[in-house]
């Protein structure tokens, strides 16, 4: 397995880090006693976690649940005792139009409201965007890209991005197929987040399934959880086998 998952908390519980005193900036006691001052953040951020802050940009089309996926990612990170901020980049809300959403995850409070210009992780919910939108803008060589497709990166014409990133950093996920199998609807968000949980330490799979179950009830919740778990397993196996495959080639 690529990583051990952070312990999740029960719904409604405060995440561990928050209980340990790492409260959001609004909850900090502050350092300026004057009642006329407003919320202040500590001058020096409290750094205690060993996990790096993560910035995620999600791309898709209106109606595919891009904004919801960013929210679920933030909620899963919250359940994993981390600070998280998610927000959409709204265009006029038209079905099918390109949509982007952002998520920041950190062990310290998040203050910035700027859009994510240099993502650590890029999630592409719709492969037809690849040659339409400047998807890879700001994605560095250590970046990670998860793309919803049942084809290979080469078949999508992604050779340039594959060579730009370090080996194994472009991960294809047949998220629409997984969603159709488990959910009965072509909504790829949960599966892509499951893959993200396998490929990075941004969120744990247990925290993700908790977030999905809270957000969606009944069979929709169960279907989303199943799609996320299936993608998580597929990608975990892919990552485990990657060194052996590289050795063969």
């Amino acid at each position: 397995m690529p990583r051990s998952n952070a312990p999740t908390t029960e719904a409604g519980h405060q995440p561990d880090a928050l209980q340990a005193g790492h409260q959001p900036d609004a909850l900090q006691a502050g350092h300026q006693p004057d009642a006329r001052t407003s919320i202040t953040s500590p001058a020096t951020p409290v750094v205690s976690g060993h996990r790096r802050p993560v910035q995620v940009r999600l791309h898709g089309r209106g109606g595919q649940g891009v904004v919801t996926a960013a929210e679920l990612l933030a909620v899963a990170a919250f359940h994993g005792a981390r600070y998280a901020q998610a927000f959409p980049s709204f265009g006029s809300e038209r079905s099918g139009a390109p949509v982007a959403a952002f998520c920041r995850i950190s062990d310290t409070p998040i203050r910035t409201r700027a859009p994510v210009l240099n993502p650590d992780i890029l999630v592409v919910q719709d492969a037809t965007l690849v040659h339409q939108v400047d998807l890879f803008n700001g994605l560095g060589e250590t970046g990670l890209m998860l793309i919803n497709t049942s084809r290979s990166p080469d078949q999508l014409g992604l050779e340039s991005i594959v060579t730009r990133l370090k080996p194994g950093r472009v991960i294809t996920v047949a998220a629409t197929e997984l969603a159709l199998t488990h959910l009965g609807r072509p909504l790829p968000g949960a599966a892509l987040l499951g893959a993200l949980a396998a490929a990075s330490d941004a969120i744990g799979i247990d925290a993700l399934t908790t977030a999905l179950s809270e957000r969606f009830s009944g069979s929709v919740g169960a279907g989303n959880v199943a799609a996320a778990l299936a993608a998580y397993q597929n990608v975990s196996i892919e990552i485990e086998e990657a060194p052996a495959r590289a050795a063969r080639n």
Partner: protein, 417 residues
């Protein structure tokens, strides 16, 4: 309870905990999620004793709020942008009558050109209407300011507008401590109106006032705003006792004490600026930022004190007065006793243009090296503007600006990414 929740939903929860008795709603982006969520809380029976009224326009929304408040009900509504302009006559009336209505303004640009994204043009358009105007830096503060707004409004018998940046806050998911009913009940006392339309004791509210007394009635509105300069920090102090966190107040200084350069701004941009300030400090630059939480009444004294007598001041504004320049800047200049020689305005984030850390750092670089103009527009695409100006010189029928500019950009219709 700390939750990972959308700003709009958290504000709806906080407003509901304040036990409003009349909520009037007309949908306009980006305010809609708030009143939708309050509607759900009313319908589900969680918010009891509240009449949720769908009205046919923003003008009706504020008119209903005025009637409800005059009838002794705690009244709340929310709007944005053109919605605020459409209700503006009633907005002035609510303040002139001294009715303690609370309204959320989910800040959004004003057309034309039509634009649904965030800036502060709407709040600035009603700057002089007589409402208390509070600006939230984060969603936690937006939530807390709403709770404070009801107490403040009713203590002063003045309407209070809580300004929160559209999309940037209303649609952001983040950790928010949503206040409990018990805490809010301990903080917001039952509404005891200063004036009441009561059939048992008939009075009229809204008399016509001629030249003999108009100045005096208007002066009273000003006097109450000045009282708010004391009441707002008092309210924030009591809030801190009950809720265990500090929110609201007049101003919010960050690393300003020894600063050579102080940025002044309002709303959600402050968090981004604070990050940039920390990085500049790491470079050894003495930079700070002053957040204006209370814009009306304008805290001249608190701002003047925080800005000191030597620092270079850069006001970053999400609105401007066409043909003049900064709006907040003129107030800041008054707080600096008119010392404009060390004051610059940077207009930023209009119509939802992202304000990046890189651009803010460049502004501070320019400030450090004395390169800031008195008025500049952040990330302005000057060649694009010059192209259109040249087109206008070339021919009388040069056509509409918006369409020309979009064509030059190669954009069929505006949209993000």
């Amino acid at each position: 309870v700390l939750q990972e929740i959308e700003g709009s939903k958290a504000v709806a929860e906080a407003v509901a905990a304040c036990r409003p008795q009349v909520v009037c709603a007309y949908p306009i982006t980006p305010q809609t999620h708030i009143v939708e969520a309050i509607g759900v809380l009313t319908k589900s029976g969680r918010l009891i004793g509240c009449q949720f009224m769908n009205v046919e326009s923003e003008f009706a929304a504020m008119s209903v709020a005025i009637g409800a408040s005059a009838g002794g009900a705690r009244a709340y509504t929310a709007t944005a942008s053109q919605g605020l302009l459409f209700m503006i006559e009633a907005v002035y009336n609510a303040a002139g009558l001294g009715l303690p209505i609370v309204m959320t303004l989910a800040n959004r640009a004003i057309g034309a050109p039509i634009n649904i994204w965030n800036d502060h043009s709407d709040a600035m358009a009603v700057r002089d209407a007589g409402w208390v105007q509070l600006f939230a830096q984060s969603n936690q503060e937006a939530v807390d300011l709403h709770v404070q707004a009801f107490r403040l409004a009713e203590a002063l018998s003045l309407p209070v507008m809580v300004c929160m940046d559209g999309y940037i806050l209303t649609h952001a998911i983040e950790p928010i401590d949503v206040p409990s009913q018990e805490q809010v009940d301990a903080f917001v006392p039952p509404f005891s109106p200063r004036q009441l339309l009561d059939p048992q004791e008939p009075v009229s509210i809204g008399a016509m006032v001629g030249p003999d007394a108009f100045t005096e009635v208007r002066y009273l509105g000003h006097a109450k705003q000045l009282q708010a300069l004391d009441k707002i920090p008092e309210t924030a102090a009591v809030f801190a006792e009950i809720f265990g966190r500090r929110s609201g107040g007049l101003v919010s200084p960050y690393r300003t004490d020894d600063a050579d350069i102080i940025v002044v701004a309002m709303g959600s941009i402050l968090g981004t600026i604070e990050d940039v300030v920390d990085r500049q400090r790491d470079l050894g630059r003495r930079v700070g930022v002053l957040g204006i939480t209370t814009f009306r009444p304008f805290p001249l004294q608190a701002v003047g004190q925080a800005l000191g007598s030597h620092a270079r001041i850069v006001v970053i504004e999400k609105a401007f007065s066409t043909g003049f320049g900064g709006i907040l800047t003129t107030d800041v200049a008054m707080a600096m006793a008119g010392d404009c020689s060390r004051l610059s305005t940077v207009v930023a984030g209009l119509g939802g243009r992202p304000v990046t850390e890189e651009s803010l750092a460049a502004v501070l670089d320019d400030a450090v090296h004395g390169r800031l103009e008195p008025l500049q527009f952040l990330d302005l695409n000057l060649p694009l503007v010059e192209g259109e100006l040249a087109r206008m010189l070339g021919t009388q029928r040069s056509g509409p600006h918006a369409e020309n500019i979009l064509r030059d950009l190669g954009t069929a219709a505006s949209g993000a990414l």
